[in-house]
């Protein structure tokens, strides 16, 4: 479903600020894979996500989504294949627009936007049903501005928007990191159930090792722009936080640099 072959990216090349953010990333995801991604701050986790999404062009390498090379497609064209949820709850929704307007925009991802009316009554009914599944009481607030929602509600809505049109690949970049623990847990459960129900292929960056172990069928660890550890199946199920930390220092020759990962 996703293929990354020797993907490289250097930011600010040729300057003193040059940063080799991706140093040859290789990854192959099968349909239905749910991969969790961990790694220290600055390991390149978000950069991989952005490379796939086409936020900027990569320097070299191949990116295939569903067998199609997408390197030359701009971000808005790749959006056809991708659902994305970001760390910042503000980033995924339009605060000054209504809940139903946000959903209507998302319902047209990958489709031609015409001069037909922007939202149909059949859609409104559908949105109400879908929002009810979130169990946040949003189904009665279709015309409320998204800016009135809490961070958790906005992330849940972004998640719904990302999966409204089934994406070939769902990209979740620390999408619960800005939420309080209780809300984070709820959004994570929601994520799990949506991925399972729609049988989505997904990548989820998290700084929480327990979450990384508990969710998905595969786990990869990144360090300095490379994938240094990749487990799946039974081996992943048997992982412990201690084992992961040991693996990290063994593969990287360093202590795991994120306090957050240890604390949570």
């Amino acid at each position: 479903m996703l293929e990354l072959i020797d993907v490289k990216k250097t930011f600010n090349p040729g300057t003193i600020n040059a940063k080799k953010a991706l140093q040859g990333v290789n990854l192959h995801l099968n349909p239905g894979d749910f991969v969790t991604i961990i790694g220290g701050n600055g390991a390149g986790k978000s950069t991989v996500m952005n490379a796939i999404a086409g936020v900027w062009p990569i320097d070299s390498g191949i990116i295939r989504i569903d067998g199609k090379e997408v390197m030359s497609l701009p971000e808005y064209k790749r959006a056809k294949y991708l659902g994305r949820v970001f760390q910042d709850p503000m980033m995924g929704t339009a605060a000054t627009m209504e809940i139903q307007e946000n959903l209507a925009i998302a319902a047209r991802r990958g489709k031609h936007r015409t001069l037909r009316w922007g939202i149909s009554s059949a859609e409104k009914k559908k949105f109400r049903e879908q929002l009810a599944i979130l169990n946040l009481g949003l189904e009665d607030r279709l015309t409320a501005k998204v800016g009135l929602l809490s961070g958790g509600q906005r992330q849940a809505l972004t998640l719904l928007m990302a999966t409204l049109n089934e994406p070939k690949l769902l990209l979740l970049d620390e999408h619960t990191a800005a939420l309080d623990p209780k809300t984070a847990k709820k959004v994570l459960e929601l994520t799990d159930s949506i991925i399972q129900e729609k049988k989505l292929t997904a990548m989820m960056v998290t700084h929480n090792m327990k979450d990384a172990i508990a969710h998905g069928n595969r786990l990869i660890m990144m360090h300095e722009g490379k994938i240094i550890f990749d487990v799946s199946g039974e081996e992943k199920k048997a992982l412990t936080v201690e084992a992961l930390l040991a693996k990290f220092s063994q593969s990287s020759g360093q202590e795991f640099a994120s306090d957050r990962a240890l604390l949570s």
Binding site: E75, Y76, L82, M91, M97, R108, R109, G110, R113, G118
Partner: protein
């Protein structure tokens, strides 16, 4: 004396609607797209110039108005291309187009002004027939608002609104934000040029300076309308646009009143600009100094500083002991 004042009111209303139509154009860029577009100072004159040339050449009124609108759209297209494809910041893009239009407008008019006296040509609106002019202007404004209400409710229109509301979200949802920005600028400047065509008929001439400071007038209309009647609109887009036009009328009525009271009209632009500065700054200042969060933050900071002082005093004593 007071009679004179009241006699001048219909003129203020007519001007208010004309500039209110222009302010709708400003609303599209400033409020919907979140772009401060300075093209308008030039495109309003472009609209006036094209209209004046066609009328003086004996072309029909409808053609003059359509051509003026299209000319403004091209100006918006140029700004849009500067901004999106060439990556020039929006403000600078608008200023560049404005400079280009200065030359273009002079070329179109063949000089610094071109008169279209109502006595000689069959104009749509004229200073001497205010009642008729006001009715016609009202129709223009209402039809325009109806069309925009429809357009921004469509799938494509909604994607323009989304672009202004959240660029990141829009790209992630597959919106070509370069295209939506360009179309927004095209639409906006088309409307601005149309208002220029109306203004030139009202004034009986197009002049190269007719658009100078137009952006200030437009922003003033948007801001005045929103400040006074924003609460009435709830979420209704058509009402919001009507309020913009009302803002334009109020601006001109106030302008008239101020002049009537004998104030120096040279100071008007400055006063308007300062007023706009205050209105624009208000939300920022409120957030920064008067919101609950800001007040709590200040309190916390003070307490922190107090605690830190205590700590350092203690530490000072302790280290003193150690040394001893």
């Amino acid at each position: 004396m007071l009679g004179d004042y009241f006699n001048s009111l219909p003129a203020a209303v007519a001007q208010g609607i004309m500039w209110g139509i222009m302010a709708i154009g400003v609303y599209i860029t400033y409020k919907i797209l979140d772009i401060a577009d300075l093209t308008v100072d030039g495109s309003i004159c472009t609209g006036g110039a094209v209209c004046a040339v066609l009328i003086t050449n004996g072309q029909p009124m409808w053609l003059a108005l359509v051509a003026a609108t299209v000319a403004g759209m091209l100006a918006g297209l140029l700004t849009g291309v500067f901004h999106t494809f060439m990556g020039i910041p929006a403000i600078l893009s608008g200023i560049l187009t404005q400079l280009i239009l200065w030359s273009v407008n002079l070329k179109i008019m063949g000089g610094a002004n071109l008169s279209v006296p109502a006595a000689r040509y069959n104009l749509l609106i004229a200073r001497l027939d205010l009642n008729r002019s006001i009715i016609i202007l009202e129709i223009f404004a209402l039809v325009l608002i109806a069309v925009l209400y429809w357009f921004f409710g469509t799938e494509f229109g909604a994607s323009i609104r989304a672009t202004g509301a959240n660029l990141n979200m829009s790209s992630a949802q597959g919106i070509n934000t370069s295209l939506t920005k360009i179309i927004g600028l095209v639409l906006s400047n088309g409307i601005v040029a149309l208002s220029g065509a109306l203004v030139c008929q009202y004034n009986g001439s197009a002049t190269i300076t007719m658009g100078q400071g137009a952006i200030v007038t437009g922003l003033a209309a948007v801001i005045i309308g929103e400040a006074l009647f924003g609460w009435l609109c709830r979420n209704n887009f058509a009402l919001k646009l009507i309020v913009v036009v009302i803002g334009g009328i109020i601006y001109w009525v106030v302008y008239n009143t101020v002049i009537f009271m004998g104030l120096d009209s040279n100071l008007l632009r400055m006063t308007a600009a300062l007023l706009i500065a205050v209105f624009l700054a208000a939300p920022h200042l409120k957030n920064k100094y008067f919101s609950n969060a800001a007040i709590a933050e200040k309190k916390a900071l003070k307490e922190q500083q107090k605690a830190a002082k205590k700590e350092s005093k203690k530490a000072g004593k302790n280290s003193g002991k150690e040394v001893a």
